[in-house]
C-alpha cells in the first residue's frame, strides 16, 4: 500500500472578500494554506499582491530598477513570518506595512553609507522622473518632480513620510501605523517634509 496522499484542494475563481475582483480564494484561505506549508498558496499570495507591492516599492524609492529588490525583500520577509499575521484576511495591509518598513530600512542604510562616504550621491542629472505619466496635469507633474528630486535630501523617516503623505495620500494615523511611530511623531514628520516640499516647489532656499 502506498503512502496516503494529502487530500485534493480545489481552488477556482470566485469573488470573495479579501481578494480583488479577479476572483480566486480569499487571502485568508491562502494564508492558512501557506502556513500549512503549501507552496502553491505562497505563490498565489505573491502573484496576487506583486503588482501592488511593486508599485508601492517604486513610489517609495523613486526608482523602478530598485523596486524589484525591495519587493523581493518584503515578500521574503512576509512569507517567512506568516505566523505573525494575526488576521489572515488582512494580508494586503500587513504586506503594505512590511514594504514601508523595509523601504525605511533600506533608505536608512543608504543614508548611513552616504554619511561614511560609501554610497553614491545623486546629482540633479541623476534624478530621473520619466516614470511620471505624461498625462499628469502640470501641477501634479511639478509636485511629483519636486518630491522625487527632494527625496535624497531628506532623512530616512521624513522621506518615507513624504511619499506616504503626498504620493499615497495617507492620513497621519495611517502614516503612524505604517511607520510604527506615534501619531504626534507622524504629524511632525509629515509637517517637516511638507515644509521641505513647499520650499522646493517655490524654488526657495532650504
Amino acid at each position: 500500500m502506498g503512502k496516503s496522499r494529502p487530500a485534493l484542494r480545489v481552488v477556482a475563481p470566485s469573488p470573495e472578500r479579501g481578494h480583488s475582483s479577479t476572483g480566486g480564494p480569499s487571502d485568508a484561505a491562502l494564508v492558512v494554506a501557506a502556513r500549512a506549508g503549501e507552496d502553491w498558496a505562497r505563490e498565489a499570495l505573491c502573484r496576487r499582491h506583486a503588482p501592488a507591492v511593486i508599485k508601492l516599492s517604486h513610489r517609495l524609492l523613486g526608482r523602478d530598477d530598485e523596486a524589484d529588490d525591495l519587493a523581493q525583500e518584503a515578500f521574503t520577509h512576509a512569507l517567512s513570518s506568516l505566523d505573525r499575521l494575526a488576521d489572515p484576511q488582512a494580508f494586503a495591509a500587513w504586506m503594505r506595512t512590511i514594504v514601508v518598513r523595509t523601504a525605511h530600512k533600506i533608505v536608512r542604510r543608504r543614508v548611513l553609507m552616504r554619511k561614511f562616504g560609501l554610497g553614491p550621491r545623486k546629482t540633479e542629472s541623476d534624478i530621473d522622473t520619466d516614470f511620471i505619466s505624461r498625462e499628469a496635469p502640470p501641477d501634479v507633474h511639478a509636485e511629483l518632480h519636486a518630491i522625487y528630486t527632494l527625496l535624497d535630501e531628506l532623512p530616512a523617516r521624513e522621506r518615507i513620510a513624504l511619499v506616504l503623505r503626498r504620493v499615497e495620500g495617507m492620513s497621519h494615523e495611517d502614516i503612524a501605523e505604517q511607520l510604527g511611530v506615534s501619531l504626534s511623531t507622524a504629524k511632525r514628520l509629515a509637517a517637516s517634509s511638507d515644509e521641505a516640499l513647499a520650499r522646493a516647489l517655490s524654488g526657495g532656499e532650504k
Binding site: V10, V11, P13, G24, I54, L79, R165
Partner: protein, 344 residues
C-alpha cells in the same frame, strides 16, 4: 499645505506578468514552505489547512462547478489560480479554463492525472511530464494528452474535441470505436444515431475552421514593443504558449535597442524551457538575454535558468555555466539549485 492628494496614480510602473513571475522566482529561491516543527502545532495547522481546503473546495464546487475528488481516489493534485485570468493551474503547470458553466472533477491517481468533464467546455493546456499520463473523461470518450492544448465540450450525449497544438488520442471506453489520434487543427466528435443511442455511434473527424487565435492565419501583429509584450502576456495567460513565444521573439529580434528586449528574451527562454520543452531554444534565448541586458537585475536569474536549460539539453557546456554562475554569484538566490545541476 492643503490636504494631500493621491498622486501615485500618475506614476507609471511596469507590473507585467513577466515581472511578477520573476519576483516569485526570486522569492521562492529565498524562502521555503514553512512546516511547523512541533507535532502538536503541525497537527493543528494541518487540521486548519485541511478544513480550509475542504471549505474552499465545497464553496468552489457550489459556485463554479468544480467537484470534489471521488472519496476512494488517491488524490494529491491541486488546482491553483492565475488571478489575472481565472485560469486554474495544476501543480505541474498545466492549466484548465472552464467555460459554459463547466463542471470538472479532478483526480490524481499515481502517475496519472484524470479529469472528468461532467458538463460544459474546458480548455486544457497540458505540460508534458515524462511518465505522467493526463486523461480527460467525457461522454463516451477518453482523451489522452501528451503535452498539448485542446478543448473538450461535453453535451448531453456527445463529446467534441478540438486540438489547438500537439495531438491527443481519443479512446472509446466501451471499445465501440477505434482509438483515434487527433492532430493540431483537427476536431473530433462522437454523434449518436437517433434510433439507438447506446449502440449506434457516428464519429466525425474534421479540420477545424479558421482558428480564433492569431497564430495561424492572421500574422498581423502589433508593431510597438509595448503592444507586442502585452499581446505576448495575453497569449501566455490564455495558454497560447507558441503564439506568446513568437511575439516575444519578435520583440527581441526587431526591437533590440528597446530596454524591454532583454526581458522579452528572458521570458522567451522561460517559456521554451518550462512550457514548450525546447531546452536548446531556451539556452539560445538566455544567451541573448545576457547579451541584451548584461547589467539587468534579472541577469542572475537568466544565468541560473541557462544552467538549467543546458542540463536539460544535455549540453556539455553545463558545468562551465554552473561554475561561472557560482563564481559570479557566490551568495546568489539560486545557488542551491544551480549547485545541484550538471552533476552527471
Amino acid at each position: 499645505m492643503n490636504a494631500p492628494r493621491k498622486l501615485g496614480q500618475w506614476i507609471e510602473t511596469d507590473t507585467s506578468d513577466v515581472r511578477a513571475t520573476l519576483l516569485w522566482d526570486r522569492v521562492r529561491a529565498k524562502t521555503k514552505p514553512v512546516r511547523h516543527g512541533s507535532s502538536r502545532r503541525w497537527a493543528a495547522g494541518a487540521f486548519v489547512g485541511v478544513a480550509a481546503a475542504a471549505a474552499i473546495a465545497f464553496f468552489v464546487a457550489r459556485r463554479t462547478g468544480m467537484d470534489h475528488v471521488s472519496p476512494n481516489a488517491q488524490a494529491s493534485t491541486f488546482i491553483g489560480v492565475y488571478d489575472d485570468t481565472g485560469a486554474m493551474m495544476l501543480a505541474d503547470g498545466s492549466r484548465v479554463r472552464l467555460r459554459d458553466s463547466a463542471n470538472v472533477r479532478v483526480e490524481h491517481v499515481g502517475d496519472r492525472i484524470e479529469l472528468t468533464l461532467v458538463r460544459g467546455t474546458a480548455e486544457f493546456d497540458v505540460v508534458h511530464v515524462p511518465g505522467r499520463q493526463f486523461l480527460v473523461h467525457a461522454e463516451r470518450a477518453d482523451i489522452v494528452d501528451v503535452g498539448t492544448r485542446f478543448v473538450v465540450t461535453r453535451e448531453a450525449s456527445s463529446t467534441r474535441v478540438e486540438v489547438r497544438e500537439g495531438s491527443v488520442e481519443v479512446r472509446d471506453p466501451r471499445g465501440a470505436l477505434p482509438t483515434r489520434t487527433i492532430a493540431a487543427g483537427e476536431s473530433w466528435s462522437n454523434g449518436v444515431g437517433a434510433e439507438s443511442p447506446s449502440t449506434s455511434t457516428m464519429e466525425t473527424i474534421a479540420p477545424l475552421p479558421t482558428m480564433t487565435t492569431t497564430s495561424a492565419a492572421a500574422p498581423r501583429q502589433p508593431a510597438s514593443p509595448k503592444a507586442l509584450l502585452e499581446a505576448a502576456d495575453a497569449a501566455r495567460v490564455a495558454g497560447r504558449s507558441r503564439e506568446a513565444a513568437a511575439l516575444l521573439d519578435e520583440v527581441r529580434r526587431h526591437h533590440r535597442s528597446d530596454p524591454r528586449a532583454g526581458l522579452a528574451a528572458f521570458q522567451l527562454g522561460r517559456l521554451r524551457l518550462d512550457t514548450l520543452n525546447d531546452a536548446a531554444g531556451a539556452v539560445e534565448a538566455f544567451d541573448d538575454t545576457i547579451a541584451l541586458a548584461p547589467n539587468a537585475s534579472f541577469r542572475e536569474d537568466a544565468e541560473a535558468r541557462r544552467v538549467d536549460a543546458l542540463e536539460r539539453a544535455r549540453d556539455p557546456r553545463c558545468r562551465e555555466a554552473k561554475d561561472a554562475y557560482l563564481a559570479r554569484y557566490p551568495r546568489g538566490v539560486h545557488v542551491a539549485e544551480v549547485t545541484a545541476r550538471c552533476e552527471r
